[in-house]
């Protein structure tokens, strides 16, 4: 549409509401300097007008990182308040502190950065070297970790059910992958697109852990958040990708509610229509593909899932569409009737999506 940088630079500012947001996002993602600034400005204004908050996630970057950087991490301490980001306690290159949560957030954000860079040649969550900010000690006895559109936030856990959320590398990989999804596929966080959003976070979180442990697919535990529960809880972790629905069964928590196939699909409205529940179905499709292909999960299965997330999945993609996209990517990368194409197809049939 736009032939030169100069023409976009002139066009974006006066006609910011004519250029559709998806194009502005592309400009913001792929360009630098003044043009990127204008695109981001336009996005912010049009987002405010349309009441869409998702694109605002692009903004802090505009203020902090025009130049493409490398690995850059900041860890903040909220000192048990809900104020974000809190006090800066460790910057990139600083030596370890005495605080375990600070050091884990720093180290595991680094492992996640290295995984994306070395395996997929991706420079941070936005592919442009966005600084990775983490806040630890959020709120009091906070039983959660989340991605707020700009940064990761970790609670200390209540000590009865959950320990601190920085303890697990796959939890940190999960949160950062929400950032990748936000900048790429933009999967809406509700229903099936939301469950796919969750699943991509588990898939990459699990792969990052396997990569650090140098584990092949058939040797990995395929458990998300192993060690996050206190020893008093009867469970191996938060979710099982190989056997969804079997991760825990405890009086304090109930039984793991994840379905392993479409027959047991959760239809309720809780959890944004089951984003952390129905993610068991696409999670298992990834596990089945990785094990069928053998070797390291990130070599083939991971590459297929990554290329799909980056280039083909859209904000409203559902399970059946995701399955077709992943099969098409497998075919494009490894050939028609390749083992990869067959493995992906077989996996989505096994979980009842195809």
């Amino acid at each position: 549409m736009c032939r030169s940088k100069a023409s976009i630079r002139q066009a974006v500012r006066p006609y910011c509401f004519i250029i559709p947001p998806y194009m502005l996002k592309e400009v913001a993602k792929r360009e630098e300097g003044a043009m990127r600034e204008h695109a981001l400005e336009s996005l912010a204004v049009s987002a405010q007008l349309r009441g869409q908050r998702a694109v605002l996630g692009l903004l802090p970057q505009a203020m902090t990182a025009f130049a493409v950087g490398g690995k850059s991490r900041n860890v903040f301490d909220a000192h048990h308040t809900e104020d974000l980001p809190g006090k800066l306690v460790r910057r990139e290159g600083d030596k370890a502190t005495r605080d375990k949560a600070v050091n884990e957030a720093y180290t595991y954000a680094g492992v996640t950065y290295d995984f994306y860079k070395k395996i997929f040649n991706r420079n941070s969550v936005d592919a442009r070297g966005m600084r990775l900010d983490s806040t630890v000690h959020y709120d009091v006895n906070f039983d959660n970790a989340f991605w707020n559109g700009n940064q990761m936030v970790y609670g200390d856990g209540d000590g009865v059910i959950f320990q601190r959320f920085t303890k697990c590398l796959d939890v940190i990989g999960h949160e950062l992958t929400h950032g990748v999804t936000q900048f790429e596929a933009g999967l809406v966080y509700r229903g099936q697109p939301g469950a796919l959003n969750e699943s991509f976070s588990d898939v990459f979180g699990s792969m990052i852990k396997q990569w650090r442990l140098k584990q092949k697919a058939d040797k990995a535990d395929w458990v998300i958040g192993e060690g996050l529960f206190t020893p008093q809880i009867n469970g191996v972790g938060i979710r099982s990708m190989s056997n969804p629905g079997t991760a825990y069964d405890d009086p304090k928590l109930g039984k793991d509610p994840q379905p392993a196939d479409m027959k047991h699909y959760f239809k309720g409205s809780a959890d944004n229509y089951g984003v952390h529940i129905n993610s068991g179905i696409p999670n298992r499709a990834f596990y089945l593909t990785a094990v069928e292909l053998g070797g390291y999960s990130w070599d083939k299965a991971g590459k297929i899932w990554y290329v799909a997330l980056r280039d083909r999945i859209r904000p409203s993609t559902n399970f059946a569409q995701a399955a077709q996209i992943l099969i098409a990517v497998a075919r494009d990368l490894y050939g028609v009737n390749s083992a990869a194409e067959k493995a992906v197809t077989k996996a989505w049939k096994a979980v009842g999506v195809l």
Binding site: F146, G149, N272
Partner: protein, 98 residues
């Protein structure tokens, strides 16, 4: 007055519930909880106070209160819940279990 509470979502996706019969609480607790409900203007809140673009892994809440024949359900989340409602959510979170 009866309160029925559900917390869902969060990284772990564990759904917890609480049922509180305010009339069965101690006088001091009943007074405290009743004040939280009044301070939140609960019966005048919109039914849905949820984010247009939910932040990943945050908690969602569904609160139903029945009082003298009137009943109201409010669905909200950590991102959007008004400050005035947070003390009640905090209290109900403490009561919630599987």
């Amino acid at each position: 007055m009866q309160i029925s509470f559900e917390r869902s979502g969060g990284f772990a996706g564990v759904t917890l519930r609480a049922d509180v019969d305010v009339d069965a609480l101690s006088a001091a607790d009943a007074k405290r909880v009743t004040k939280m409900i009044q301070d939140a203007d609960f019966f005048d809140l919109p039914k849905r106070l949820t984010a247009a673009s939910p932040q990943p892994d945050r908690f969602q809440y569904k609160i139903t209160i029945t009082d003298k024949g009137k009943q109201k359900t409010v669905t909200t989340d950590d991102q959007t819940a008004p400050e005035s409602l947070k003390p009640l959510i905090r209290y109900l979170n403490q009561q919630a279990h599987a």
